[in-house]
């Protein structure tokens, strides 16, 4: 772990100001990913600004009838918030499918957006990695890539975004409220994270001095037909190989509106609006779901060990949409059959 100084920010404006100071300055909130990476010497900030005392922990009604999640509300408090459970159970399910109870008690909503990839090579200083050290090369492409990306990858990087929460946020078309030196702005969730291209060192589109203050969930109601399906190498406390957030609004058996986002497949939570368009106005049948699933993986590329994810993604999409149709909120396929 690098040597760093530590200060506490008492107000958002002050935090933004301090962040623009010289040196490698980082905000620390829950710390669950940052301290992990600092111990691995992947992150080596010279200054930490503790933002935990900023007044950003509330979960409250948003002006447009949606719900505003404070950036510093913990993942656990969010998942078990009564309004979230009632109106956005997909988000609850996704959060509870991630990490462990302990980590969810520490991790914040804002921090969750900044989780960095679990790519083995990103974590290991002994190996080249373009994300950690731009220009050094990607070890994963010719290496062991079983857990890595199949969509939106580049020749520089095939890392995946590890969050579960963000997959649900993408599907729910959340927006991110951000404050910087030039005031506040709102970022559409799909524009928050980015694809690697030839600059994989950048995970998102935020400016260095900006801070996330809240995440807004729109008023749309996807509380009856949804599923967060997470496939992983053990039942709990493991990152997703593939996860699918599916949400439907149904009229009878006809899909009025459909949402679909995937985790574990790309550098960002992968929402596919083209595929979503194939749901609209269609009957909620296997046939429809198959078309949608095929659409999602149309441009997918396997790298050897992870090629199975293309087929698995299709099957997971179909299953999640089926579960959403049936209105069975389940986090794990197994729990589905063994209540």
């Amino acid at each position: 772990m690098n040597s760093f100084t530590y200060t506490r920010a008492e107000a958002v404006e002050a935090a933004v100001r301090e962040k623009s100071a010289s040196g490698k300055v980082k905000f620390i909130a829950g710390g669950t990913n940052l301290l992990d990476l600092m111990k691995e010497n992947v992150e080596r900030p010279t200054r930490l600004i503790d933002i935990n005392r900023l007044p950003l922990t509330k979960i409250e009604a948003a002006p447009d009838g949606g719900l505003r999640l404070g950036a510093l509300a913990t993942n656990a408090d969010t998942a078990w918030n009564a309004e979230v459970e009632k109106r956005y159970p997909l988000l609850s399910q996704a959060i509870l499918a991630g990490a462990s109870p302990q980590l969810r008690n520490m991790a914040t909503n804002g921090g969750n957006l900044f989780q960095r990839t679990r790519c083995y090579y990103f974590y290991d200083l002994a190996t080249p990695c373009n994300k950690r050290e731009p220009g050094s090369g990607c070890s994963a492409i010719g290496g062991y890539n079983r857990i890595l990306g199949i969509l939106g990858t580049s020749e520089s990087c095939i890392a995946t975004h590890p969050s579960d929460m963000c997959v649900a946020l993408a599907a729910l078309a959340a927006t991110v409220r951000v404050t910087g030196k030039n005031g506040e702005r709102v970022v559409k969730f799909e524009d928050f994270h980015r694809l690697p291209g030839d600059t994989p060192q950048f995970d998102n589109t935020l400016q260095p001095d900006e801070i996330v203050t809240a995440i807004d969930l729109p008023a749309e109601d996807f509380s009856r037909h949804f599923s967060y399906l997470k496939l992983r190498d053990r039942t709990s406390y493991a990152f997703a190989l593939i996860s699918v957030a599916a949400a439907l609004q149904l009229e009878g058996n006809t899909i009025k509106e459909g949402r679909l986002a995937l985790g574990g497949v790309a550098h960002k939570p992968w929402r596919d609006t083209t595929a979503e368009a194939l749901l609209k106005g269609q009957p909620a049948t296997e046939e429809t779901f198959r078309r949608v699933a095929a659409k999602v993986v149309e441009g997918a590329k396997g790298y050897g060990h992870n090629t199975f994810k293309i087929e698995l993604a299709k099957r997971a999409i179909m299953r999640a949409l089926k579960q959403a149709t049936e209105g069975m909120p389940v986090a794990d396929a197994f729990q589905n059959s063994n209540p």
């Binding site: 772990m1 690098n2 040597s3 111990k39 010497n41 679990r118 083995y120 090579y121 974590y123 290991d124 200083l125 002994a126 190996t127 070890s139 010719g142 290496g143 062991y144 079983r146 857990i147 496939l231 190498d233 053990r234 039942t235 709990s236 406390y237 493991a238 990152f239 190989l241 199975f308 087929e311 698995l312 099957r315 997971a316 299953r319 794990d332 396929a333 197994f334 059959s337 063994n338």
Partner: protein
């Protein structure tokens, strides 16, 4: 009835209160005054040499005390022999910080010592080291056909017996034949406690070394030889070990580092490894196996071939008994076993829970399932038809063997008869259901061990042996043995272990501790008993005046006549009357080789599992397990059950999760952490039923115990693999069975 009969009772652990309150202290938790911290720097490359270490900047950091590397390590022992520990395999042991050569990725190359842990960690991260690399070889697959047969070496290694009968001809002539390859990758022990050593520097230059180990004496011998210390100079203490599973059988390099730094700096030093560094030493080796089976029309085995090839390091020939089990588990007159190693640029593998058997029996027991299908027989019936009443490897009878009862009782408990043998024939909801079974066998062994007992005038008995507690229940079992043999309440007995000042005991491994140390404790108690009888006879008006030792018994705090229990003396009073503050005795127990050599000594088990598989998504759950174990006398059904429950979790873990993946580009393991090297969590574990089929066996040792720490794991991985076949019709021969293999 006596209420001081403890052996066989389901008692709670005597070390329970210390463990649940956090009072139990592990090696890195002795916060001695003036402690400084060492942090190990690991090589990023797999092969080559260090060309430069630039420590100046690091040494200039205030609070950094020293950077140890091959450049400044003092003259230490010269001979390989000095670096060999009790369980070292043949070859030339790795010497930490010895020279510039890099032999494996993550080799420790330097130790940075500083006033605080954080500073040492930071200083290690900024220590500049340059390497020159040369091409490495880390892929066992490239070594097919290039294996060599190891010589004898490591304790307990038995080279496969020569072929018997006509295995080649009988295989060709067999009615049904299978010939398949079975593979599992590298696995790391990963005990919860990371390796750590606190070397306390005492006045006069002596050391108290708190080490994470499965054998304090082994650690002591190792550092004594290397650093030229007397037994008095370096006492090794290991009261609690946070899991071993074999990883602590050999001293790990943090011990060397802590002792080196303590002696050089004349300070108390702690060195703890990181979780990543827990992947830098011994492991269960990547192993390629072929099994060929042939059967006759009646389902009897006509021929059996089993060959294994596994990795070892360039510098040592690690051996384990992989294939021998195949020559003894089933009746077969035509057997050919082969065992080979291949050298790679990796660290030497190391015994990991049920070493060899976990690997070999996975292959054999999956092959047996394949053959049962080929021969059209129920897998259990097929095994019963080939039941071995005699160990054909040794051509000896078993001292006891209730495997048949394990099969029957296990099958009954599980409901095996409800199984429809056809693959893909059983379902629950949209899940495919599979039933699978397999067998396990493990050595029942006893090693030389010592114990000392001391009864004080207040009636408290102290028992000491330099054995170890890794979670197997040693504290509890030994307390039971001593309390029972001297008729004392459990609370009056204080069993102490993990200290090189105590009577010698072997490393805690091989499932031999209950037999070895238990017998030593029993012998010491009996020796003390004889002394107590003599003292009792000197008491005024002693009712035991003319009694012989075989006429008396220790029960309920009394020494009394067996045939006339009213004639008794209170044990505590004997010590008090003697005028001494305590009465002591010690004893050493050895296996009775004359009695044992006519027999094959083994524990067995039969495992039945149910899996449920969501075929579309490739998800699998082991929903039920019945593990029936015949392991002699069960000293404590409560702790023994826990051993078997844990073993089942290990077998499940081996079957479904564990694999340390090597990236051959770098010759380096990539998933070196707990997030990507998976072991099961609570949610993975469903119903597990443990049955003990007790055996009476006075040949294995006077206590009749066979050991329970390893046998329970055997058969589990194969039973799961077989259940997967039954559920899906898909025969998987490479572990672990993860989602991608089930799609």
């Amino acid at each position: 009835m006596s209420n001081t009969n403890y052996i066989g009772k389901a008692l709670s652990r005597v070390d329970g209160p210390a463990k649940v309150t956090g009072a139990a202290k592990y090696a890195a938790e002795f916060n001695v005054p003036g402690l400084v911290y060492g942090y190990v720097v690991s090589s990023p490359v797999a092969k080559g040499k260090i060309t430069k270490i630039d420590a100046a900047e690091v040494l200039a950091l205030p609070g950094v005390l020293q950077v140890f590397s091959h450049e400044n390590v003092p003259m230490l022992a010269l001979l390989d022999r000095s670096y060999k520990d009790d369980v070292a395999p043949g070859g030339s042991p790795f010497r930490p910080l010895h020279d510039a050569e890099i032999k494996f990725s993550q080799q420790p190359v330097a130790l940075v010592v500083a006033d605080t842990f954080e500073l040492a960690r930071y200083a290690a991260s900024v220590l500049k080291i340059e390497y020159e690399t040369v091409a490495h070889e880390t892929d066992l697959e490239t070594k097919r056909g290039e294996g060599f047969e190891p010589g004898t070496g490591k304790t307990g290694f038995v080279p496969p017996p020569p072929p018997r009968g006509n295995p080649d001809k009988e295989f060709e002539n067999a009615v049904h034949r299978i010939d398949q390859e079975y593979v599992h990758g590298t696995q790391h022990h990963n005990p919860m406690e990371m390796f750590g050593t606190t070397a306390e520097y005492l006045d006069g230059g002596k050391l108290n070394v708190y080490d994470k180990t499965q054998g304090a004496l082994n650690s002591q011998r190792y550092i004594r030889q290397i650093f030229g210390l007397s037994k008095d100079d370096a006492r090794v203490i290991s009261k609690y070990t946070g899991g071993g599973f074999g990883s602590g059988l050999r001293p790990q390099y943090q011990l060397f580092m802590a002792v080196l730094a303590a002696l050089e700096l004349k300070k108390s030093v702690r060195v703890s490894l990181t979780r990543q560094q827990m992947f830098s030493f011994g492991h269960r080796p990547h192993t390629l196996q072929t099994v060929k089976l042939g059967t006759n029309a009646d389902g009897s085995l006509a021929a059996l071939h089993h060959h294994a090839l596994h990795e070892t390091s360039r510098f040592e020939d690690y051996t384990e008994n992989v294939v021998n089990w195949s020559g003894m588990l089933y009746q077969c007159d035509n057997v050919k076993l082969g065992y080979q190693l291949a050298k790679l640029d990796v660290y030497t593998p190391q015994d990991m829970r049920a070493p060899g058997a976990a690997t070999g029996l996975f292959a054999l027991e999956v092959a047996m399932d394949e053959m049962a299908y080929a021969a059209g027989l129920d897998p259990l019936e097929f095994r019963l038809r080939n039941y071995a009443d005699r160990d054909q490897n040794l051509d000896k009878p078993f001292s006891s063997k209730k495997l048949r009862e394990c099969y029957h009782e296990g099958a009954a408990k599980f409901g095996w008869e409800e199984r429809n043998p056809a693959p893909r024939s059983m379902r629950q909801g949209n899940m495919l259901v599979g039933y699978g079974m397999a067998t396990g066998v493990w050595d029942a062994s006893q090693q030389k061990a010592g114990a000392k007992v001391s009864l004080s005038a207040d009636g408290k008995l102290t028992v000491q042996s330099a054995t170890n507690e890794i979670g197997t229940g040693t504290y509890t079992i030994m307390t039971q043995v001593a309390a029972e043999y001297l008729g004392l309440p459990l609370e009056a007995v204080d069993f102490q272990l993990g200290d090189t000042d105590f009577p010698a005991a072997p490393v805690q491994g091989g499932s031999w501790t209950a037999a070895s140390v238990g017998t030593a404790v029993k012998n010491a108690c009996e020796a003390l008993g004889e002394k107590l009888l003599k003292l009792a006879q000197q008491m005024e008006g002693s009712p035991l005046k003319d009694a012989k030792f075989e006429d008396v018994e220790f029960v309920n705090g009394q020494l009394r006549l067996r045939l006339d229990p009213g004639q008794a003396v209170v044990v505590r009073d004997i010590v008090q009357a003697s005028g001494e503050t305590k009465v002591e005795a010690d004893a050493t127990a050895m296996p009775n080789l004359i009695k044992q050599k006519q027999y094959s000594l083994h524990a067995h088990n039969a495992v039945f599992v149910e899996v449920q598989i969501d075929e579309e998504l490739g998800t699998l759950h082991v929903t039920r397990v019945v593990n029936a174990v015949a392991a002699g006398r069960i000293m404590n059904p409560k702790t023994a059950r826990s051993q078997v429950l844990g073993s089942v979790v290990w077998g499940l873990s081996m079957a479904l999760m564990e694999e340390t993946v090597m990236d051959h580009q770098f010759g380096r393991y990539v998933n070196h952490n707990y997030a990507e090297y998976h072991i099961p969590v609570c949610a993975d574990i469903h119903d597990i039923d443990v049955l003990f089929v007790e055996e009476e066996d006075d040949i294995v040792n006077p206590l009749g115990v066979k050991g329970i720490g390893e046998v329970g794991m055997l058969g589990v991985a194969a039973a799961i693999t077989n259940a997967v076949y039954h559920a899906t019709g898909k025969r998987i021969r490479e572990l672990p069975i993860m989602i991608d293999k089930l799609l």
